[in-house]
């Protein structure tokens, strides 16, 4: 993203008095993600603040914000309990003061998003430094890990609702570095360029609990389209996600069958395939 960074709405209390002040990491579509600390400065955490959206009708806005914060927290707690790799919930306020929105605090996740990793990789390949580190194999292994993580999440009855490559984190390969987190966001730089590490699913803002094949298939479809639209070069690698997903739990085959229906459903999709 270029140009000056977008203006941010002020944080609600109690974060108005946090010292040092929370650092903004990303401005997503729905929420702002800050790096701050929980209780003591040595305990880093992520703060997800959902400001009210001035474009929306206030009644509709409040209804959506409250519903989303609560369902996100419930889903994360459930994933944690069932052993899906997600950040744990530390604290939340779904109502806020009724004007400025609500927030939720989560455990800090080390690493980079899969999107960042793939974009950086594609750039290096373009510059002709492609075959330096077994990139292809690394991507295939990464896809497999994504397939397994998504499979495990679906197995316990959770659907993500916005499964894009920006919402899948790749943790660092080695043990977490000491003082890996600084409040000025430099921790990003300290993580290696590799493809190793553990997959952590983040941003459950649109997630829900569902056992329906339809919802799970839509999850996979969204991920597939995210690959197609932002990483066209990794589109073939997506087959590996589906392959590992298929073997990851019992109901996976039915979901993949359903995925074919979902693909055909977009309006005016070519009938020839």
């Amino acid at each position: 993203m270029d140009g000056p960074s977008p203006p941010q709405p002020p944080l609600p209390a109690p974060f108005t008095h946090t010292h040092p002040a929370p650092t903004l990491l990303t401005q997503g579509a729905e929420a702002l993600l800050y790096c701050t600390y929980f209780l003591t400065p040595s305990h880093p955490c992520a703060l997800k603040y959902r400001p009210s959206k001035p474009y929306r009708n206030p009644i509709l806005d409040k209804r959506l914000t409250r519903h989303r914060i609560l369902s996100e927290a419930r889903t994360l707690v459930k994933c944690r309990r069932e052993g899906v790799s997600v950040p744990g919930v530390l604290a939340l306020d779904a109502e806020g003061d009724g004007v400025s929105g609500g927030w939720m605090m989560m455990e800090w996740v080390e690493g980079k998003t899969v999107r960042e990793v793939l974009v950086a990789g594609a750039k290096r390949r373009k510059e002709g430094r492609d075959d330096e580190d077994g990139w292809e194999e690394g991507v295939t292994a990464l896809m497999g890990k994504i397939g397994r993580a998504v499979g495990r999440m679906h197995e316990v009855g959770v659907v993500h609702g916005d499964l894009t490559t920006s919402n899948i984190m790749l943790g660092p390969l080695a043990a977490p570095q000491q003082n890996g987190v600084t409040t000025n966001g430099e921790h990003m730089e300290q993580v290696g360029e590799g493809l190793g590490g553990e997959i952590v699913l983040i941003d459950f803002g649109l997630a829900g609990q569902s056992l329906q094949d339809e919802d799970k298939a839509v999850d996979l479809y969204v991920l597939e389209r995210a690959f197609g639209s932002t990483h066209p070069e990794a589109e073939e690698g997506f087959q590996e996600v589906l392959k590992v997903y298929e073997e990851s739990y019992k109901g996976a085959k039915v979901v993949l069958k359903r995925l074919e229906d979902v693909r055909m459903r977009g309006r005016k999709r070519s009938l020839l395939g």
Partner: protein, 354 residues
């Protein structure tokens, strides 16, 4: 270079002439005229009546467009026409007109994707270089971003288009279709203010409108039934005010537009763009433009929208997109000059962009 564009994928018949200067620079719009088939209140436009409308007006419109442009037939380089997507019968009648003109005047034909026409015209008029595009009309609802020579669809309607949802609710209320049902709903919504509860159906990056339409149709029926009760009629729980038809239009707009702005914002966050371009007939709705403007401003960006001349289906956008393709050497041979109801935005190879 000059291109004549013919558009007739739905109930508007449009003819336009555009000129791209040899030296580059902005395109010159020589003429852009349109004739709309308006159906009676409570009814939609049927394919066969719409096709008949197009057939009976196309000759007059072409003559008028050329006269207004002040060019001679010899000056025209190519005839661009809408290849799809759209309604079959209207598309066919316009394709026949395009083929006839091409044979009569010995010109090249260029078949154009209707959605690409909207996007390229919007970019040309507003000067937005690489925006996330929200294409909203009676037949299409898509969030589009450009990558590697294709306009890629990020999110879209899973069932009916947003404009179709609005049009059909106008039919339920038996509002006039003149100048357009959506426009009349917009005017009524300005007088409403109480928000009734409707489903909010965003699914991944996509949205769904048919359930919302079914819900609001039920509410309209409830309102009609309790109309006779006067003061004891249906009151809003929050405000205690009597619910009106205007409130229903207001609630429908607020809900569906919030969904559209939300998926657009998500696409912007994902591709890292700060520009939004709204195209298509629903894009001329001022409330949608306002909501999108607030969202874009809060992200430090801006919204680009055009007025009804370019938002609503028109011939000039087909002429423009056709000429862009023609300049890269693309020509549709007579035997390939078909039309199709299904023609996805991402099927087109965009040769004219980097």
């Amino acid at each position: 270079m000059i291109s004549l564009g013919l558009e007739g994928s739905a109930n508007k018949l449009g003819v336009g002439l555009i000129q791209h200067p040899k030296s580059g620079g902005p395109a010159a719009i020589l003429s852009n005229i349109r004739h709309t088939f308006v159906s009676p209140p409570g009814e939609g436009f049927l394919p066969k009546d719409t096709a008949k409308h197009h057939r009976s007006h196309v000759i007059r419109l072409v003559k008028q467009a050329i006269k207004e442009a002040g060019v001679k037939v010899e000056d025209i380089d190519c005839i661009s026409y809408t290849r799809g997507p759209g309604m079959g019968a209207p598309l066919q009648s316009v394709a026949i007109a395009a083929r006839t003109l091409a044979l009569l005047w010995n010109k090249s034909l260029v078949g154009v994707n209707h959605c690409i026409g909207h996007i390229e015209m919007g970019r040309e008029i507003t000067g937005a270089s690489n925006p996330v595009v929200l294409y909203v009309s009676g037949g299409n609802t898509q969030v589009i971003a450009y990558a590697s020579q294709r306009y890629r669809i990020f999110g879209e309607a899973l069932d009916i288009a947003v404009g179709n949802c609005l049009d059909r609710f106008a039919r339920t209320l038996r509002i006039s279709n003149d100048p357009a049902p959506g426009y009349n709903i917009e005017q009524m919504a300005k007088k409403g203010g109480c928000l009734v509860d409707l489903p909010y159906a965003v699914k991944g990056m996509d949205c769904s409108f048919s359930g919302i339409l079914a819900s609001i149709d039920i509410l309209a029926e409830k309102l009609e039934k309790r109309k006779g009760e006067g003061e004891k009629g249906w009151r809003d729980e929050g405000t205690g005010e009597l619910v009106t038809r205007e409130d229903l239009c207001f609630s429908l707009q607020e809900t569906v537009f919030a969904m559209l702005v939300e998926i657009t914002e998500r696409a912007m966050a994902h591709v890292g763009s700060r520009q939004v371009l709204i195209v298509g007939g629903v894009g001329s709705n001022e409330r949608l433009q306002e909501m999108m403007g607030i969202m874009a401003r809060d992200r430090g960006g801006s919204v680009f929208a055009t007025d009804e001349r370019f938002c609503i289906d028109n011939g000039i956008m087909i002429a423009h997109a056709g000429l862009l393709a023609y300049r890269t050497g693309e020509v549709t041979r007579l035997e390939d000059s078909t039309c199709t109801q299904r023609f996805r935005t991402d099927e087109v190879f965009v040769k004219w962009r980097d």
